[in-house]
Amino acid sequence: MKRFFNINLLLMVFLLIFCDVAFGVSEAYKGNIYNPGILKPTDSVLKVKVGDPAPDFTLPSISGEKVSLSQFAGKKNVVISFVPAAWTPVCSDQWPGYKIAKNLFDKNDATLIGITVDNIPTLFAWTRQMGKLWFSVLSDFWPHGAVAARYGVLRSDGVSERALFVIDKAGIIQYIHVEDINVRPKLEELVNELEKLNKK
């Protein structure tokens, strides 16, 4: 048992030393970002698949109102961006990029909904560092991670995966991408999916 522990300890030290996390945190957060180190890339099992109707939900947003997925039915394609947690490195460098990509969403008649399992005050303070966001930021805090769990992207430690769902105007899931939690998804992959959807 002791030897097993020692070997595991050595392996952990090895991983910490050699597998440095690659991210470029913005100076905007002034050193207030908590680095959790390298995490298990994915840690959940999807409960929906492409072609399924997207489960509806209603969640509170940082701007005060409640937002439901169903309110976009027949009007807009919807991208749901689950990110694991506020004040962490990769998450803090994902939505600010979407902030300047509104034209890419508009061009494909799509809107964006950002969701984390953090509570509203935390999300409010965190997203204020990003500048003015054009999309809804929703809190899946209580019941904790219920929407993430319904989609099958709630990890065993209570945060969500870094996942993107593209839902068409008929409310059908057209694309699912669960990214390695340590990596930011490439913008072009999402844009390609939106363009495909728009061409259908």
Binding site: V13, A22, E27, A28, P96, G97, A101, R184
Partner: protein, 190 residues
């Protein structure tokens, strides 16, 4: 036998730790040499001309035809880099509109963790006139100490092709005139 294996493991980790510790890059500071950063020559002819590069496929920063190269490490995803973009466009224009600076000072950006598509989106969003380069696997970012963005370093290039870091700064640039003056002094151009 067990003892030998244990000793071997300890030795292995010690050697690897030593190698890695010595390889951990730090942010460039004044007087340092630049770590080797290889960039792809831009396809746009105007940008090739701006940097004074021939039709090679790759180049390193000291090969740019200039006395002073200002490098911004940015990210499309970084709020301060977004806020800084219009101001850097102004700095570029200030340099280009000054006949004594135009050929001596060049400005480039390197997008830490940004793909070519993301860099292009950033350029289009802010109409950035100077060359931007992707660093999608963070390999350049790692070489310069995983700095927070925006990060600026300035390379002084001597006539004999040698170079050194003249300036290093984390965060947004404040006073462009003062910044240019410091660089002129440190490059021995004033």
């Amino acid at each position: 036998m067990k003892k030998i294996i244990r000793c071997f493991l300890v030795l292995f980790f010690f050697i690897m730790f030593t190698i890695t510790a010595s390889a951990i890059a730090k942010a460039p500071s004044e007087g340092d040499l630049l770590p080797e950063i290889v960039l792809t020559v831009p396809q746009i002819l105007d940008q090739q001309k701006y940097l004074g590069l021939s039709n090679k496929s790759t180049f390193t920063i000291p090969q740019i035809k200039a006395n002073v190269v200002i490098v911004e490490i940015f990210s499309m995803y970084c709020p301060y880099c977004q806020a800084e973009a219009p101001s850097l466009n102004e700095l570029y224009r200030k340099i280009q509109n000054n006949s004594s600076l135009r050929d001596r000072f060049k400005l480039i950006g390197i997008g830490a963790g940004n793909t070519a598509f993301e860099v292009e989106h950033f350029r289009n969003t802010y109409k950035i006139p100077f060359p931007l380069f992707p660093d999608d696997d963070f390999s350049i970012h790692k070489k310069i100490g995983n700095v927070r963005t925006p990060y600026f370093f300035v390379v002084g290039i001597n006539k004999d092709g040698t170079h050194r870091i003249l300036y290093s700064h984390q965060g947004r640039l404040k006073d462009h005139d003062q910044f240019i003056n410091i660089l002129l002094q440190r490059a021995g151009l004033k």
